[in-house]
Amino acid sequence: MAAPVLEMEGISKGFPGVQALQDVSFRLFPGEVHGLMGENGAGKSTLIKVLTGVHTADAGLVTIDDVDTLIRGPLHAQRLGISTVYQEVNLCPNLSVAENIFIGREPRRFGRIDWKQINRRATELLARLGLDLDVTAQLGSCSLAVQQLIAIVRAVDLKAKVLILDEPTSSLDRGEVARLFSVMRRLKADGVAILFVSHFLEQIYEICDRVTVLRNGGLVGEYPIGELSRLDLVAKMTGQELTALEELDEASPDVVKGERLLALEGVGRTGAIDPVDLDLHAGEVVGFAGLLGSGRSELARLIFGADSADTGVIRTGGGPVALKGPRAAIDQGIAFCPEDRKGDGLIMDLTVEENIILALQVSRGWLKPLSQRKREELVGSYIKALRIHPPHPYALVKNLSGGNQQKVLLARWLITRPKLLILDEPTRGIDIGAKTEIQKLVVSLAGDGMGVVFISAELEEVLRISHKIEVLRDRRLVAELDNDGTLTPEHILQTIANGAADS
């Protein structure tokens, strides 16, 4: 193989409170498709941002074509031949396809823009990648997939040596993915080095030559894809070394399965999750296992009515219900702590107390405010029970640490006394102490008869507290496993890697 077009060595990058990258090395050769793999928070985005000049690394060396280079900014990166196409295309939807390809460097004739040449050259460029499009059409009228291809065409025409595709396939359907891949193969044949980020394992195995795996900001390794089984890849991403099973015997508490709370029959949503059948019982902890993008959060959002299902029926003990929105779900006794605490969960500018009473207050209606005394009593008892720190109800939530913010969010739902509590990654990004506290709390809540859905990327955690584990992959529910004490992370990894036994 030729010399690498790009080499990153010993890259470290820290942000206040987080070491996002620690001594990571990365190589990219001309004419290869290289997968960058890792769960959320592994450091993929930071690495890409260092590469595109958005962040400057604290330490480490970037070499492009054997020349030490300091990438000063996105524009500079582009000039060095590094182009990026993001999942959200950042082109101008109100301009034509051709204009978007040539924006900022329009061919001119006698000082005026040469439209004929723009359109002709745009058509040629597209044709070279096997695309036949009307280049005068507005970009906004094209599908997202086509927009992405146009962004790629633009990047390639900018003499890109390195093309970074950051989750380009997450909103594409199968046909569109195939088209993208055929374009990628042509570019590869032309000697372009492609860095490809995707959460879909199948796509990684279909298109990539090699993969680099990151975990928790550190480098796990670089592997030719042919030498790495899916099982190994998943294990390396999640850090579940298959030998570390010693804690399993403390396993799950006794199952006291109560009445059926919810039954999902063929509930699904196009582009989010294929139809699912699922029963949820009182007193039972159901774990959702799967990689990011597997549909685990999407399914949770459907159960809470945060997104509406386009197929299927949800039944409660009293018959079918239409969960048209979160409010309807709350009225059914369902509570949901979303994965994105800051964006979807808490109101950062309000106090701990206001955030905690919010959902209860909403279901009481605005005309029946909780009295000052009642609020102090409720909030005080939950601050104490969940050990929220600082224990001050009037502190602003944005000044709390991640773990304490998570507890505030939990408290918000616990005071509504829900029948079913859905927790999406409740322990992500919080320290080990708070993590254990939250796990214990979940177990004891289920012991008191609450139904819990527990979503986590950490299989050990899911195994430790769940009675039943739903395994999701590529937006499908592929298996339901009973956590009878014999189940190991290996089983789950196997299922994630292979899909259901029959597929």
């Binding site: 945060a306 979160p326 109101i347």
Partner: protein, 351 residues
Amino acid sequence: MNRADAPSRHLGILKHSLFWPVTVLIVMLLANVIFTRDFLAIRIEQGHLYGSLIDILLFGAPLILVALGMTMVIATGGVDLSVGATVAISGALACDLIAKGHGLPVAIGAAIGASLLLGLWNGLLVTRLGIQPIIATLILMVAGRGIAQLITGGQIITINNQGYKLIGGGYWLGLPFAIILVAVALVVTVVLTRRTALGLLIESVGGNAQASRLAGIRSSGLIVLAYVFCGLCAGVAGLMISSNTLSADGNNAGLWIELDAILAVVLGGTALTGGRFSLAGTVLGALIIQTLDTTIYTAGIPPRTTLVFSAAVVTIVCLLQSPAFRARFTRKRPERPADPVSTGPKQEVTA
């Protein structure tokens, strides 16, 4: 009212969010004493209160009212540019009906009803059609002036109705009626937002609409309510303005009052991005603006420099309000020793 400040109470009055607006207002009032010795004096003539302070309250009444409504809209993360037009429409409708011989209740009822409808229109444009508030209300800001002129037939309608005169120019219990009206509106607003959960829900929606939805809040109803309330406030302000002069001018009534109202809200410490709002702050902001106007007259500032003068004062007030600006001057000050009771990891206190 500002509960967020509670943990920092020991850091003193300087950190209170209303400290700077109050200080500015007091300084401006005192500055006026230099030009007019008896500026702060209040005298009683024929059982009515008179004086510059009363004048500021009286002339500022419509602005306070409009700014109260504006506060609720801004708290939801929106803005209402159409209040000036609503002021004009409301005044024009009432005067036109009175001029045509209808009774006061009909005239006032129609004006208020129209204002509520205009607010509802804005609210529906924002929530149902998802138009950005600044654009949605711009429609009515421009078109509303046209509607007002249609009602007045392009003329200035003058009427002679002493009952109507009471609203904006009359006295009741020794006080200008407009001041009483504003006081009642303020109390009702405070009770509605702070004695019920409405204020919390509005601050929640303005602070993070997505998270509010997932907490079960149906935000569109709340947002519509804010615009309707804002329309109502503007409508009553329109009655005051037209009643004070017993005339309706579709072209000039309430002209640019939306900008003064937005300024009042911002001076009062409510962020344009939505979320936390302060009604007391808004009232102070409106009073600062009105005092500034009065000062320009009493200090005898030449008319051609008034705009520059007010621009300068507003700039200063805004700078004083800005934590980033103040930090430049306070950064060097040594840290106060931490209160032994508050041993939290965060010493940083938000104002």
